[in-house]
Amino acid sequence: MYYTYAITGLILLISFLINKQRTIKAIKISFIKFKKIFPTFITMLILVSIILFLFPDEVISNYLGNGSKFISVLLASFIGSITLMPGFVAFPLSGVLLTKGVPYMVLSAFTTTLMMVGIITFPIEKEYFGTKVTIIRNIISFLIALTVAIMTGIFFGEIF
């Protein structure tokens, strides 16, 4: 996180030294673009706050840890698709689940859908790319995540 700030600051400084007007224009563009999408972000935050309330860590652990592997994979990809979690929360959680005996393929389905499929980010994605493309991209991402989970299962010897 901090390196992003450092790099952004550095680039901004260099830009400013080269051309003051252009840099000011750039900041104006940033501001306008941010302002346009901000209401959609608030909508998304409202969804996130409710979904995270319905699916706290303990509930996720419960769902992923029980039952057959294949049902768990499906549940994991479902939960991963509808929730939104930064990586610094998701991977430690997965690490804990791993020590509790949750198979790699289930965690793969969970983390990959978490990163690639965004039902909660749908309002934002739609603003930029339109409803149809957003739906197609999310379905494709879901299928990729399932494929990756199956491959993970094969290579960790969890399927055969």
């Binding site: 952004t8 830009s15 940033s30 935050l45 995270l52 990163m115 990729i144």
Partner: protein
């Protein structure tokens, strides 16, 4: 459009009213939702300003011809390599990837490259990948990358083919 704005104002007001009442009456589920909202808002306010400043600088400094040449119709395999590298170094995941992908598209990047960017930003950001490997093991992370990245590229190319047949254009002025 105006109707949409009214609906939005309505549900945002209801939501915050619900939070306010929950805090006054000490209604726990409502309080928890409120904390979730604040913690995610803070998280986003940490990444988004950087992302949007970079987008602004990109719009001002990077010439359309440069993007068209390296990420446009004539760019070959190299275009994908560039865009995956770009995705790997920018923090923030999907949320940040959408506006950046949109800017790339408007500067002349082709659709398959734009979708590859989004996919790669989701799965192979370098700092996150290292973090992932430290919790899940290198093997887990390698399997994920080796299978997902080629699939992202292939499906992006197919999606581009499908969409260009239908004259797809992204919305303007976002």
């Amino acid at each position: 459009m105006k109707k949409n704005i009214k609906i939005r104002i309505a549900y945002i007001s209801i939501y915050f009213l619900f939070l306010a009442v929950s805090f006054v009456l000490r209604y726990n589920p409502g309080k928890e939702i409120g904390y979730n909202f604040v913690s995610f808002l803070l998280y986003m306010l940490k990444i988004l300003p950087c992302a949007f400043i970079l987008i602004g600088l990109f719009e001002v400094w990077v010439k359309k011809e440069v993007i068209e040449k390296h990420l446009g119709e004539e760019s070959g395999i190299r275009g994908y390599a560039w865009v995956i590298l770009l995705a790997g170094t920018i923090a923030g995941g999907l949320l940040v990837a959408f506006p950046i992908a949109y800017s790339l598209y408007n500067k002349g990047a082709k659709l398959s490259i734009v979708f590859t960017y989004i996919g790669a930003a989701a799965i192979c950001r370098i700092p996150m990948t290292l973090y992932e490997a430290s919790f899940m093991g290198v093997k887990f992370t390698m399997i994920r990358l080796l299978f997902s990245l080629p699939l992202v590229i292939i499906t992006s190319i197919l999606l581009e083919k499908y969409l260009s047949k239908r004259n797809y254009k992204m919305a303007e002025g976002k």
